[in-house]
Symmetry: C2
Subunit: 162 residues, 2 copies
Amino acid sequence: MTRLDSVIERLQAQRACLDWAASRIAAVDGPVLEIGLGNGRSYDHLRARLPGRRILAFDRALAAHPDCVPPGDCLVLGDFRDTLPALAARGVAPAALAHSDIGSGEAKETAERAAWLAAHLPALLRPGGIVLSDQSLDSPELAALAPPPGVARARYHLYRRR
Amino acid sequence: MTRLDSVIERLQAQRACLDWAASRIAAVDGPVLEIGLGNGRSYDHLRARLPGRRILAFDRALAAHPDCVPPGDCLVLGDFRDTLPALAARGVAPAALAHSDIGSGEAKETAERAAWLAAHLPALLRPGGIVLSDQSLDSPELAALAPPPGVARARYHLYRRR
């Protein structure tokens, strides 16, 4: 598999998981947390699949394509380890879905950020809420789910908040 | 179509065109010119499909993944408008294939670079050589070819050197 093959497989897996999750949370109240806005592609996909849903996007700094910049009150800049814990105090309801795409290419940093998310993300989700993550998140409050058909298990990690 | 759908379609088109071109030039002598190395994904794909073929990669500065850095004598850094014309003087034979992926997101700059390539690339190619380009290249020496099955015409531009 070439790196071109690999990126296509990864993006197809991401799309399949986002589509699956959008359908799964159709009847579940609560906002979506997009953790790692990046270029905004998955944000754009989620807002198309979930019209009317509030999507809060988090990133260290804004790097999104101009067409994919969330409205000001839905864009939260800074280290998510600072900004996510402040959500409840802002009156944000528990989330129906969190999508985290936080791999930076730096293995140690990515592992630290994934460990932080595993420890703190469940408290921000509604019971039964869904987590999609590019990183494995090890938490007793998150039950691993099988990926949708055609998605290799190692490509994306899916969880249900217990 | 979301931006996620769009990037998947673009990368699939790129792969289909690279596979098509690799098969098309199997019996044609000459190196491959990879103009716009970028992260090195298409370079990685070409070297997998064309084992033993010399692939010269051009970019303004090295930004490729560490696994996709060409060997020193095949990596040419600088503005390609300076480095491509110097190829013949270096004894490089006319190319069997040129793949150019030069869109920068800056429309005017991209158009200027595409116009330069249209004017100067044909002279670097063997007659019958193939050009794949993310930009349209308008030259009387380049005959447009239909894209391989499944690739939208606007996604990638294919030419045969007359």
